[in-house]
Amino acid sequence: MTGPDQIAPLIIPDRGEYLKTKAGEGVHIMGVLPALYPRELLWAHGILPAEIWDPPGEIVQANAHLQASICGVVKRGLEFILHESDLITSGYLFPHTCDSLQNLGSQVKDLLDSQKPIYSFYNPKAANTPATTTFYLESLKGLSRELSPDSTELSPEELIPFCELGAEIDQLRAEIMAARAADHLELSNKTFRRLMRAEEYLLPQDHYALLHTAQNHIIPIRKTGLPILLSGILAPQDEILDLLDNEGISIVADDLLSGSRRYPMIPLQPQGDPWEYLSDRYFRLPPCSTQANSLHQRIEHLEQLISNTQAQGVLFNIVKFCEPELFDHKSLVNHFRQCGFPTLKLETELEAHSSGQNLTRVEAFIEMLKERAIS
């Protein structure tokens, strides 16, 4: 079976090569741990954020510092940091996401005596109220002061162009996601995922250009694949994406922490104060397991995604030991079961390759979806 990518390949820069090139050009690169952070602010400070979600390779050194029951994202993040990559020149940013990442940031800074600067950024968890907004605005400005050599925050004029660029990226991404939702995007699951993950390491202008090129892959006719929704922290391994491609299953939308949970459902336009734009953008993000959103809100959001995309099932890809996802999961699955809507949960430790067991489970899930589609 020929993959759709053979029709019009999309060139997505390799993460390692790209970062090496940029480092060689003197770009300041900051390692950013998951998940939510004000990317526009880093850009405006002349920093390229290189996100650290699941760096490949064996976990060796980190095991001496972390318990066996700590999730792969945290372990791989620490392993990467301990290797003291020369690419990371501007230190590390630890946005507040969960207990494990919270402590990891402090561990690296306070106990492991990192030679590189360590920054933290607290994402407020409380509901959007004037107090929360004020706090978030102050936190943004505080981070800006920390990043500035003279401890002054950026002026609106310095920040606005990057907010505008960010908004254009959001807009382009939303158009591509809409095409994907309608299954009008001629990209394989694997390529589409790589395209989406390019945001984790590309300079905004390169990311914008890549998304612009990807628009050429929007086709006028709907593909014939069976649409599904993907939820969790990260997308599954390539073998699973390939399997879905080969079986004509199309991931038409995602509810991934590394993906769409970081983008407002409807892109905002920066008007007026750029700080307020960044704050508005944060508070309009979709419901997330790591935040205080109710489970009812999450269910409603997933239902909306399903309704928008005509998805026929949900694939949950959950990182082992990830508490926020594991707590939410049962209620989400219960809801879908009551509606007779198929779901499958995969658990991963972020291994390079998928287990045979997971592949078999996905195969069975696909068979079931196909049978349902026929009946």
Binding site: L66, S69, H96, S100, F135, H296, F327
Partner: protein, 441 residues
Amino acid sequence: MSLAGNLKYLFMKDLGTPALLGLQNIKKRSSRPPDQSFGPALKSNQRLKAILSKHYLLARYTPGAKKVAWVTSGAPVELLRAFDIYTIYPENHSALVGAKKLGAAYCSIAEGAGFSQDLCSYARIDLGHLFSGKTPAGKLPKPDLLFCSNNICQTVLYWYKVIAHELSIPLIHFDTPFVAQEQTEHDIQYMAQQLQDMIPVLEQITGKAFNLKSFETILKRSQTSSQTWGKILESMKSRPAPMTIFDAFGHLAPIVSLRGLPVAEHYYDVLLKEVLTRVDQGVGAISDERYRLIWDNIAVWYQVRHLATFFARRKMNFVTATYTNAWAETTGYLDVKDPWTSMAKTYGQIILNNNLKHRQQLMQRMIQDFDVDGMVMHSTRSCKPYSIGQYDLRKILSTELAIPAVIIDADIADERIWSGEQIQTRLEAFCESVEDRSYAH
């Protein structure tokens, strides 16, 4: 709230529960003979048992009389007390279940309902209780609202979201920015404003108006109780220490779950008097205290007696712990004249919401102040904020202070995680190191 419900509650509070508990005491007078390694038991143990039993028993009579909240251990409960809300602490209840070695059974109920075994066992036990109604406390009232703060962990937020969803009840969340370096003015303002924003919500839920005077009285009581608790813990600097940290694990229940109430304030006055008398008389918690240890992390509830005996027989006493200290450490920030910002400082800076440099320095002080010879760290699967960093803390502290240290991997309340032989071997080797070090000195 109904008149009949109120009358029934008041009757049970003042007459019914004391009578019922008195009858129970008559039935349960026999207890196992004391191990010779221990000194005389604290007299306050019986009082503590009575207070907690009454609290759980009385909870059954709240329907129609009081609103009930399920609350996390680090939440600023004083605000709820100002609205006369009856509070139940699921963490305390889970610890009770764990101590009775029922943790695995309750966890299994939650796991059977679809919750992962990798989740916090306090949460799984609580969900197991929620789905089955089972409890060693007889019966617990269902909550009318939930009140949580992520100052102890983010887990409580995820866990309480599930309960809120299951029971369709409101969840009030107090968001406490993690102290990565030091608390900022905007951290404090954010928390202080959240607390004030909760007032109209609580007024609506309870139908009662907020009374600042009454709130200040509660806050003052809370502060006094925490300070007394701190003095009780300080008494363990004496040689021999008048109690062990395993005693303290039990005696901290009122400061966690009855904080702000007169009963807790009075109880700690009595306990302080007792431990100070023991100090004056040279009465130790173990019969021959030769070595002094520090405990890090939450108790292994289902092994408290075993561990206490294991160490007492080796003449080792745990005289301090980061866990018990948590309810005394930040009390100094409380100020009745400035309730909101002072509560933000108090609740926002507790050990688990503070950075690991703070923890390292705190433990250093405790080791020195309590003249500690060795450190036992419980790395628990259930508590990531307490456990991540322990491997490095152990290395740093044992090197800098030249004391032996051991980490045991276990769990707070799920007894399936306990690897008895492996832990025994590790602890025996640790005890030898403590003895060797002492001999060398």
